[in-house]
């Protein structure tokens, strides 16, 4: 539980840092938490270009890098100097999505818990 809460706070910290660098007037953080995973949605009122959204998606759509996530990923949300880096978040989540919404941008981060039972999950089409 402590590990999960710490991870969530780190992710919120890093993404929050990233958004605040864009100087928004509004930022909304929505956490949907369940026993075996969570979904974090962050909304802001910054209208970003296609290029910027593409760069954000590229940072969040990293391939699995356990060697970086387990060690350097711990820096997420704790950096006060320098720019925020979404790739620190991208290594640690299972899915990240960036979408342009009316008047701003929406970031979705999804992570299933360790030992997640895919067979018992309700994800559509998860059987294999």
């Amino acid at each position: 539980m402590k590990q999960r809460n710490e991870l969530i706070l780190h992710l919120i910290g890093e993404v929050g840092h990233y958004i605040l660098e864009g100087d928004p007037q509004r930022m909304s953080i929505n956490l949907h938490l369940e026993q075996d995973g969570f979904h974090l949605t962050i909304l802001d009122d910054i209208e970003r270009s296609d290029e910027e959204i593409g760069a954000m998606e590229a940072s969040l759509h990293h391939t699995e890098r356990p060697e970086l996530a387990g060690y350097y990923g711990s820096m997420a949300g704790l950096e006060m100097v320098g720019h925020a880096r979404l790739n620190l978040v991208g290594w640690q989540i299972h899915h990240g999505d960036v979408q342009r919404v009316e008047g701003g941008t929406r970031i979705d981060l999804v992570l299933g818990a360790e030992g997640f039972d895919h067979a018992g999950s309700a994800f559509p089409g998860a059987g294999c």
Partner: protein, 484 residues
């Protein structure tokens, strides 16, 4: 979690999550444990093995098989604290074979654990190879790695999450040799005690290394240097408390043979050649990374990629290099190999220009720079730091070829991200302070940590990162007050 009934998911997002979860959790999938290496990564993996085998063969040829094997065995039983130049202890050939064995452990573990062959792993392998010339041996490194492995199991993590800590963590390998050779009289008990000590140290490394990152916030590339120096302080204090005085002897080869002098230029040319003339990503891999790019660019753009490595090298030089900057992922593998080759040749030319010997420790310094050419270092962020160290060396009247000064200017590039992020002036100041710190820090841990420059660099980076945080916050507050 039932995402289908979740109101804040669009159908498009649900489809993407479905794909991601299926990919990650289907045990039947061949991708479950091992990442899919690109063809470039596979080639780099094989190239690195080929380089190691060639160096080992050169070692055997230069010294003869019997003499080389005897020399390698002698190194396993030799003290390893700073500075023990193995090229003086056992000869160049045996030292190269020892270094190859140490690096082979690293590269083998990368392959066995299915870790991506990329900037961080390649930098770890080159660092292990470099320090195999003056401190690391297979026998004193393996207990540390085993300790990290046990720590990973205890924390419920896979070993590949801690593999970089395990590989870089062999900085504390001298503690194993110290217990076996210097503290406990020879015998089975001494090696048992040494191995147990190494395992315990390895188990402490991961939690300490993770905390140390927070001090300098990624501005010291050798984070394990700060970690192992910190742990080395405790080890040296324990030894002193036990009434043992560790000698501060230095073995430094002043007349290295031609084989050692040619190692870096040959390696650099191979890396440059692989970068400039090697194959790029396949069209399928480009398409996988950046959908639509192959179709959009067309054939002309594909052909223009012949000069792409040089462009990528220039792109790399615009990055800060702050940990963790995997240049192979962020820019390209070919551009990164060019960067590694340029850094190797540049460092080698500097050593030649000042007339310092290309012995084990100096080669170790250059090889570490070459390795970190994939993970944070490039000429633009290294040069300001090196200039600061050079200025301090001249100002304090030290010889440019003195062991401390030449090693500081090579290993001091651990502070390169400060120049990359905050500019030339901060990089210069960092280099200047580094020489002052590193001159004293080795004695604090009695040379137990091989990454003494990483230790001193970590302290300098922590100071400057704290200062820059204060300065930036103060500047922003003043700016906001002016605007009001």
């Amino acid at each position: 979690m039932n995402y289908a009934r979740n109101t804040f998911f669009s159908p498009r997002t649900i489809k993407k999550i479905d794909t991601a979860i299926t990919y990650r959790y289907c045990r039947a999938s061949p991708f479950f444990r091992r990442p899919v290496l690109t063809t470039q990564e596979k080639k780099l993996y094989h190239l690195t093995w080929a380089i190691l085998v060639a160096i080992a063969l050169a070692g055997f040829l230069s010294q003869g098989v019997t003499q080389t094997l005897r020399g390698v065995w002698a190194l396993q039983l030799h003290a390893a604290r700073l500075i023990n130049d193995y090229t003086s202890v056992a000869g160049a050939g045996a030292t190269l074979v020892n270094a190859v064995l140490v690096a082979a452990i690293g590269l083998g573990l990368v392959g066995l654990t299915g870790t991506r062959v990329s900037g961080p792993t390649i930098s770890a392998v080159y660092t292990m190879f470099g320090f195999g010339l003056f401190g690391k041996t297979p026998i004193n490194s393996l207990p540390i790695i085993l300790g990290v492995f046990i720590a990973a199991r205890l924390a419920g993590k896979k070993f590949n999450e801690y593999i970089l800590i395990a590989l870089f963590g062999t900085a504390l390998a001298p503690i194993v040799s110290m217990v076996a050779v210097e503290l406990i009289p020879a015998g089975a008990l001494s090696w048992t005690g040494a191995v147990v000590t190494g395992i315990v140290v390895g188990m402490i490394l991961p939690p300490t290394a993770i905390v140390m990152l927070r001090f300098h916030q990624g501005y010291n590339l050798y984070n394990i240097g700060l970690t192992s120096g910190f742990l080395g302080l405790f080890a040296a204090s324990l030894v002193a408390a036990g009434g043992v005085t560790l000698p501060a002897d230095m073995i430094w080869n002043v007349d290295p043979p031609l084989l050692l002098q040619l190692l870096i230029p040959v390696l650099s040319v191979v890396l440059l050649g692989a970068g400039l003339f090697g194959t790029g990503l396949s069209e399928a891999e480009v398409e996988q990374r950046e959908p639509g790019r192959v179709v959009q660019e067309g054939r002309a753009a594909q052909e223009a990629r012949a000069v792409q490595p040089l462009r990528d090298f220039l792109r790399i030089n615009r990055l800060s290099g702050r940990l963790p900057s995997d240049f192979m992922e962020m820019v390209s593998m070919r551009g990164t190999l060019v960067n590694m080759g340029v850094l190797g040749l540049g460092s080698w030319l500097y050593v030649l220009a000042v007339g310092a010997p290309l012995n084990g420790p100096v080669l170790g310094g250059i090889l570490t720079i070459v390795g970190f050419g994939g993970f944070g270092k490039h000429p633009a962020n290294c040069l300001p730091v090196m200039a600061g160290i050079l200025a301090a060396t001249l100002l304090f009247g030290l010889s440019l070829t003195a062991p401390g000064a030449i090693l500081a200017i090579l290993f001091g590039t651990t502070l390169a991200p400060l120049a990359g992020d905050f500019g030339v002036l901060v990089g210069f100041v960092a280099g200047f302070l580094h020489l002052v710190m590193v001159s004293r820090s080795g004695g604090w841990h009695s040379g137990i940590s091989l990454y003494n420059n990483g230790f001193a660099g970590g302290l300098t980076a922590t100071l400057l990162a704290a200062f820059m945080e204060w300065y930036q916050t103060g500047r922003d507050t003043a700016k906001a007050a002016e605007e009001r």
